[in-house]
Each structure stands twice: as C-alpha cells, then as structure tokens.
Amino acid sequence: MLSRGFSGFRRPQPPREIPSGQYYETGFPVLTYGPTERVSQADWKLSIDLGDGGFKSWNWDDLMAMPQTDIHTDIHCVTKWSMLDSDWKGVDLDIFFEQAGLGSDIAEDYLMVRSFGGYTTNLPVADVRGGKAYIVHEFDGEPISQEHGGPVRMIVPHLYFWKSAKWVESIRFMDEDAPGFWESNGYHMYGDPWKEQRYWGD
C-alpha cells in the first residue's frame, strides 16, 4: 500500500542491498530483554553437552589457545537495523566440535544455545557448521563489551541477530527442533533475514 506523502530515502543509504524491511545503521544498538549479564573472563566457560552426563568445557585460556579467525560480516537485527562490515575475532564452532570428539556426523539435527542468565536460542546443526558460526571475543579490534555479550558471545551472522547468543554458556543437541526464548515469544523458529522470517508464520 502506498503511504500518502512518503518519499523515503532520507536516511543514509547502505553501500549495498540489505534485506527487505531493514534500515542501514552505522552504530551498534543494544537489544536485551533484561539486565546486562556481568560475566568475568575468569567465570566464563563454554560447555557442550555430549549426552549421557558427559560434557566438554573450555575456559578463557582454552579459547585463547585455539586457532583464531577474523570474521568480516554484516549483522541483521529483527528490530530492523542492519550493521554492515562489522569485524569480529574468535573461533569457528567446528573446532569446538572437533575438540569435543564430535565428527562430521553429529547425530542430532538441532541444537539449543544457552547464555549465562538463562537466554536460549535454537539452531539447526547445519547452520553452525562449515564456517557459519563462531564463538567470538573481539568486536572491531576491542574486547566485546558486556552489553554486547562480552566477554564471549556467539555469532551466526546469516540469521537474524537474536540467534547470536550473548554471554554464551552451553550447547546441547536435540533430535527435534524446540523453541528458545524469543522463538517462544513470537519470533520465527529459523530467522532468515533474506526471507524476512521475523515472526511466527513469516
């Protein structure tokens, strides 16, 4: 529907196409449903649930000793802003899977990522393998601030940014897909920004 009197294009335009319904944001807004979690480097730990009571865990020093990757990517938030050309540093999630002894044949199709403070988000395993997801500790050359999920968060840049859990704490595999926090509160189970999968039914 045409909006009477609306001409558009009054904001700075992005250097390239961004997904439908998004606007170009040159800052980095903070979106969190509750208070900022205060997790120190010393307290941070990531665990992968291996089933049957088994876990593999990494602390800050472990993370620093792993092969690091520089990630240059665009971020699309369901609240409509897109941040282009952001730089992150961290470790490919595949390397965690390897160190946990999980081969290329993870039996389950889905996983649930959990944050310190209890936030959760669900993802297909296929969407976090092959260089699509990272455990990161630097943003634009600096340690990630607490508001943005520091000391360590996950990024899954090809999906809406609520899928990129701040203050990442644990990962468990699931045979069937199940909703995390926002997915229980009206957001799409998958969240592809290029298909504008914002809400249930999109």
């Binding site: 909006s3 509750g34 208070p35 609240t79 209890g118 229980s184 249930w200 999109d202």
Partner: protein, 261 residues
C-alpha cells in the same frame, strides 16, 4: 503467567503460532503530547487482544516501491478495543517519525501488523509490587501497563519513575497527574534532567544508583520491574536494580538507540 524462578525458555506464552498479517488502519485522531511527541489513534479493521507492553510494526511505502519498517509500542491499555494509540517522538534525521509528525493527517491510512512481543509485557495476573522506570518516550509501553492497571488492577502497588528533560517534555502529563492523585497505590516520581519547575523538591538529575535505591525503598519490594528508555538510561537503571538485590529475572528492559526512528 511468567514465573520469575523458571528459566525463560520454559515460559511458553499463550499465543499460538499464526501468521501476523499486515492490515491497513486509519488515523482517527492526532493528539499533540509535547513539542516533539504526538499520539496517533489508529482504528484497526482487525484489532487483536494484546498484553500491555507489546508493539506494532509500521510499514511505509514510497511511490518508487521503497519500503521501510519501524516498531512502535502500543500506548493504549488492552481494554481499549478497535483502535490503538501509537505515540511517536520526532527524531531529527529519522525517516519514519518525521513522516508521522509532518505528513500524517486524520483519515490517512497506515499499514501495520501486530501485536508483537512477549518478555516486556505485564498483565494483572502477574501482580506486583510493580516498578516502572521510563526515560523520555520510553514511557509509551509503560503507559499501556498503567492504563491496564487503572482498568483492572488498582490493587497492585506500583511506583513509576519517569525521567524527562523538563516539565514540558512530560508525555501524558495530565493523565499521569490524575492517576497519581487517585490515591490507590500508585506513586509517580518525576525526575527532570535539564531544568525543574519552580519550587521543585523532587529528583533533578539523570537516573543513578541512589535514585533507584530510593524508589526501591519507597516501594518496599519489587516483584516485577520494567525499564524502557535510551540505552545508557536503561543500562544504569537495570544495573542499579540488580545491585539493589532484585533478581535479574524480575527485570525486563527495552532499549532504544540514538538513531533509526
């Protein structure tokens, strides 16, 4: 009902998955709230029940096909049917808010879809004591909660801390005064950050830890806290509440950044 002791991922809400479809509402009235804030009453062909704190997405389309979307909180309480109020602050350099302020007139058609949102909502059944904290136009979703409370939940002990630049920036000023004077367990504490009215003996500074602990003491206990405003404001208030001993699960936040609207 959300139980603060349960992890968020078990807080499945009542709404079933269904497609949120775009609809075309009609602007029924426009109220000038302050020199930079207007309220647009939009009559909806398909009004849906909602919980206070939820929002609608608005979509604008230009003649060349360019589209842009923004989210606006519902200002009306859930008891107001068939129409919603969207209260919009004009953001200089923005794209959507100047359109609403400078172009939209009564009778215009607005494309929108909703209601949307889960964590930042309050209903009577969630009870209190209820602490609401707003900076500037962050009042909008909290006003929906206050209106809901006034309609069906006057027994809930409530304190609303509202930070504005000056008295001229207070949105819903007359209605807030009337609610506060009703004497039914709602306290309203204003803070003015730039200039204060003559004889003012209330808060006159930006939100800080001392202010939060002061209002926390006045309320005595906090079962639910909702904070909405600019990023720095929300960060300060939320951290101060956690420092005061409120468990983070009881504190819900909505932050807005400097740009975009």
């Amino acid at each position: 009902m959300q139980d603060p002791k349960r992890p968020p991922d078990t807080q499945l809400e009542g709404r079933q998955p269904e497609r949120l479809t775009w609809q075309v509402g009609t602007v029924a009235s426009i109220v000038v709230e302050t020199y930079r804030v207007k309220t647009f009453r939009i009559r909806l062909p398909h009004w849906e029940s909602f919980r206070a704190g939820m929002h609608y997405d608005v979509r604008l389309t230009a003649p060349d096909g360019y589209q842009t979307q923004r989210s606006y909180s519902i200002a009306t309480g859930p008891e107001t049917r068939d129409a919603i109020d969207l209260t919009v602050e004009k953001i200089d350099g923005g794209e959507v808010s100047p359109y609403f302020h400078d172009e939209v007139i009564v009778g215009d058609r607005i494309e929108l879809r909703g209601p949307i949102g889960g964590p930042f909502t309050w209903t009577e059944s969630m009870g209190g004591p209820l602490l609401l904290i707003a900076g500037g136009s962050g009042i909008v979703p909290l006003m929906s909660m206050l209106r809901h409370r006034d309609s069906v939940a006057r027994h809930v002990q409530t304190l609303f801390l509202y930070s504005s630049r000056t008295q001229l920036d207070v949105i819903y000023s007359d209605e807030l005064d009337a609610l506060a004077e009703a004497g039914n367990g709602l306290q309203i504490a204003h803070s003015f950050t730039r200039s204060t009215p003559d004889g003012w003996d209330g808060f006159a500074r930006r939100v800080d830890t001392g202010m939060i602990s002061d209002v926390f003491d006045r309320l005595g206990a906090v079962a639910r806290a909702y904070i909405c405003g600019p990023e720095g404001f929300v960060e300060t208030a939320a951290n101060a509440l956690v420092d005061a001993g409120v468990t983070p699960e009881r504190v819900r936040t909505e932050r807005f950044g400097p740009a975009g609207a």
